[in-house]
Every structure is written in structure tokens, then in C-alpha cells.
Amino acid sequence: MTDEEHLRILEEKAAELRRLAQENGLDLSAELAILEQKIAELKRTVCEGLSAWGRVQLARRPDRPSGLSFAQALCDAFYELRGDRAISDDPALRGGVAKLAGKRIAILFHQRGMTPEEQRQARFGMASAQGYWKAKRIMEIAARLKLPLLTLINTPGAYPGVQAEAHNIAGAIACCIWQMLRHPGPTVAVILGEGGSGGAVALAAADRVLMLENATYSVISPEGAASILWKDAKFAPQAAENLKLTARDLWALGVVDEVIPEPPGGAHTDLQKTVAAVREAVIHHFSELSRLSLDELLRLRYNRYRHVGSAGAPN
């Protein structure tokens, strides 16, 4: 029996105990306490022992924190801005202006959708050219109003489609990176679930890059890497291991500034706790960044990206 199966059985037992207690007016709190402690331990083991491939599965859960509901829970208030002003509005990449801890920010995030209908509409979080053109537009508004910029990343990647190509999705992504690098204020990116290649990096050229413990950030999906390099998608777990796509690996590589711990069992098991942890981390980094002058901020940001992987770099 795997730890995960064991965990499921224990959780079912606890649920039954609770039902029994309620239906029959019994006090089973002692028994429940023991059971719950075991569950908590097991959850920790499950997450800590996860392979890279296991984390990929976790990061892809549709109930991972992300999207509109997460942004709304994170912020005190949120006003959505829609449309790229030239073509259409992309439901897979959204954003607007918000208040975080009483301060104004601009925010951008991928929307994956949880129900099949939402997922279809949002293309499972794969934003198209129009999404990235909109993101660039919102970044420009943020620059104009001198707002710090927060991005929440959870996407399998940019949308591969004929219309996306026809509207220059590559150019839109490049312009997002460029605009983020020029942003005249602090920028923080948080990878919440999947950080899939170009579609993720378009929103990740930030002063600080944070990752949830079980999030991934990768140049290509493990399946994609496996079929290109191993000529067989079955090697995906091995590719995942090699790609160093977990939060801890990327923290060790110096790509990520902070790994935000998830509740035992994963972020989806306790969204409120996850929101609180992300919130605290984001506020902390914005507050640190706000102490820098604009010149310093830009200089540090440029240096951070100018030296990724060069011999003298921290990794």
C-alpha cells in the first residue's frame, strides 16, 4: 500500500468516526485526535517524499490555488481589466488593479478553471496572443499609475493555436518580458502550480520569484522532453527528475528566491492557509523592494537576469 492509499483509508475512517459520533451523540474526540495526528504525519510524508513527477501531478491539480478566486482571496479588493484593445479578451490570462494589505497593486494571473466548462473556456490556463497583449497593456497601466506588479503563474504553457500564431503570440510574450523588465516599480512573481515554459516566463521576469512548495517551473513539460529526448513520453518521470523543475531544485539553482511551504497534503487541502502563506510572502518581498530607489531596483533586476547561468552567477 502506498502512503497515498493509506492516507485515503485513514481519512475515510476519520469521516466515519465523525459521522458515528454525531449520529449517536458519542464523544470520540480522543480517538479522532489520534487519527487526525496520524493523517497529518502521513500528509507531510506524502509531500516531502514526492518525486519530481509526483509534484508535477500535484501542481497540475485543477483544484490548485490559482485564478480569479485565489486572486480575490489574496487581495483586499480587486477590479478586473479586460481586453487587449485591438482584438479580443482572453479568459485564460486575467488581471487588473487590486489592493493588497491596503496598498494599490496591479495583478496578473492565469485562469485555469475548475469545472470542465470553465476549463474549456480558459483553455486550461493556456493563454493566447490576446492574453499576453492584454497583460502588456495592464503592465503599462501599472507603470503609468506607479503600481507594484504581482503575477500569479499557473499555466501548462502558452496556447499553441493557429489564431495565437496569427496574432503573434511570440511577440506578445517577448513584449511582456520586456515591459516587466522596464516596470518602474517593484515586481513579484509567484508560481502557484505549473510554470510552463514561455507562457510562464512572460509573467516571471520579476524582482522576486517565489514558488509554492509543490509548484513546478520548467522549460518544457516532462512529457514533451521525454518524447523529444527519449523518443518516448513514458520517460516523463525521468525527464521531470532531470529538468530540475521543483521549487527546491530551483531555489538551490538560485532561480527562485523563496519556497512558500504548503499545508500538509498540498495547497489544495487548505486553500485558506495557502492564501495566508502566499500573502505573507508577497507582502514581505514587496515591503523589502519598496525600500529600494527606482534606479537601484532596475539595476538589481537587470543584473539578476543578465547573469543567469554565467560562471560567476550564484547558482
Binding site: A170, V201, S218, R306, A311
Partner: protein
């Protein structure tokens, strides 16, 4: 040169044997066996059907720069194999082989040069080197080239020929996209012009960063220009691709490039752009 065939479209590559180079190469577009020297004289365009063979970085630079004007930059110091990646072959071995086969340090060759007498910083990517993919090495070479161009106020010319990011360097290769855009911003800060030439193929992470944000963007007639590969698009969306999808003409019709020119006129076109973009002249 290794045998490389891309089944996606009609563009073909040089058929090879062991060194010394074979006398004949086959055009996959029309099947013709072409005498190698004749192909070279014809700028690697099939004399029978007009199909474009891609150029190596050195061939490309030779076709654009004034004779003997190119001065290669020294190779950067980078983390080799930063992830310790290994698939069917250890990544280090792949790089080693690519270096041996191409005689290049990485998938891009950069240096100072003159074009029609105008001093420029010139970089050309080489598709033979692990698909022209951008890892830390390519990122560093491009960054150094652009920062020097900004400093010396010389136009930066980049010939793109890349399948995208270097998978074996993971997120570090993804972050080269940010690195090269940051260096491109250094060019902008110095008001130094940047010209991109998109050739076969200009795709993935290279197109989605440095390939798409030049001041002037010229496409070679035989270019393939697109973010996602045709197979990925078909598999993910089930869409049928329209005829001519991701060709230079497609890019032009959708407003992505300033000009589409045949290989024989590329130098002339580049010179026209440069002579307007530089002061004096």
C-alpha cells in the same frame, strides 16, 4: 555535418557522409542530387527547385559581412551542463559532439564586423548545434554582444536560426529569454538600432524573446516563423493548419515582419536598412 532532416516541411539540409565533405548532396524537396560546389555557388538554394538549404553560422556571416571583416568574440565562461542532465545521451556528450561537428563553441557565433563598410556587431545562430537552441551559452554570447553594441554604439544584427530553448538546461535556458531581452533593453537605453533576420527556423523561446522585438525585422524567404510547432498545434487543438502556415509570407501578412527577401538579396536589404539607421553615411 550530421544528417538532419526535418519532416515538417519542404526545407532540406545538406546530406553528408564522413569528412572530407561529400561531393554531392540531395535536395529533399525535389530529389535532385546537386553538385556541392554548385550548391555553394547558388547560396545553398537548390538550383533545380529553389528550395532553401539552411546556412551554418559561418556561411551566414560570410554571406552578410564584408570579406575578412568578421572578428569573432572570445567564448564566454559559463556553467556547462548546469543541471547534470542526462537522457539517452549525457548532455555534456551532446555538447561535445555538437562542438566537434560544427567547430563552434555554441549555437550562435558573434563578433564585430562591417557590412558595406558600416561597423556592426553581428551574430548568427547555427541550427546544426543542438537545433540552434538557446541555453546559457547562447544567452551569454548574445548578452555580451548586445552590451558591447550598446557600449560602442554599433548596430546589432542577429540572424535567428533556432528551434527554441535548450531543453537540457531546464529553467536556466528559459531564463535566457529574460536575459537577452534585458540586454536588448540596454541597446534601447543607448538608442542603438537592432536588426533581426529571421530564417529557417525561428521558433519557440528565441522567437518569443529576442527574435520578436527588433527595430527592424527582416525575414528570409525560406524562413519558418512561429512560436509553437505545427505538430504541437495539431495535437493540442485538433486544428487543421492553413496552407502556408508559419511561412515568411504568413508572418508578413499578419504584420510580424517588415520585409521578406530572397537569400540573394538579404545582404543588400540589410545594408539598405543599416545605412538609414546609422548616423552619417
Amino acid at each position: 555535418m550530421p544528417i538532419r532532416r526535418d519532416k515538417r516541411d519542404r526545407y532540406v539540409e545538406v546530406e553528408v557522409g564522413v569528412p572530407p565533405e561529400p561531393l554531392w548532396v540531395r535536395c529533399e524537396a525535389c530529389g535532385e542530387l546537386v553538385f556541392r560546389r554548385k550548391l555553394q555557388e547558388n547560396q545553398y538554394i537548390c538550383p533545380r527547385c529553389g528550395a532553401y538549404f539552411f546556412l551554418s553560422a559561418r556561411e551566414r556571416i560570410a554571406s552578410l559581412a564584408d570579406p575578412d571583416s568578421f572578428q569573432e568574440f572570445s567564448t564566454p565562461s559559463i556553467c556547462e551542463d548546469p543541471l547534470g542532465f542526462s537522457d539517452q545521451l549525457p548532455y555534456k556528450e551532446r555538447v561535445h559532439r555538437a562542438r566537434q561537428e560544427t567547430g563552434l563553441f555554441e549555437a550562435v557565433l558573434a563578433g564585430s564586423a562591417r557590412i558595406g563598410g558600416i561597423p556592426v556587431i553581428l551574430a548568427a545562430m547555427d541550427f546544426r548545434f543542438i537545433g540552434g537552441s538557446m541555453g546559457v551559452g547562447v544567452g551569454e554570447i548574445l548578452r555580451t554582444a548586445m552590451e558591447l553594441a550598446a557600449q560602442e554604439r554599433k548596430p546589432f544584427v542577429l540572424v535567428v536560426s533556432s528551434g527554441g530553448a535548450r531543453v537540457q538546461e531546464g529553467v536556466l535556458s528559459l531564463l535566457q529569454m529574460v536575459k537577452v531581452v534585458a540586454a536588448r533593453e540596454a541597446l534601447a537605453q543607448a538608442a542603438v538600432p537592432y536588426i533581426a533576420i529571421l530564417t529557417y527556423p525561428s521558433t519557440g523561446g528565441v522567437l518569443a524573446s529576442i527574435g520578436s522585438i527588433a527595430d527592424v525585422t527582416i525575414a528570409e524567404e525560406g524562413a519558418l516563423i512561429g512560436f509553437a510547432g505545427p505538430r504541437v498545434i495539431e495535437q493540442t487543438t485538433g486544428e487543421r493548419l492553413p496552407p502556408g502556415f508559419q511561412t515568411a509570407k504568413f508572418a508578413q501578412e499578419h504584420g510580424m515582419v517588415d520585409a521578406v527577401v530572397p537569400r540573394a538579396k538579404l545582404r543588400e536589404e540589410l545594408l539598405r536598412a543599416l545605412s538609414v539607421l546609422v548616423e552619417g553615411g
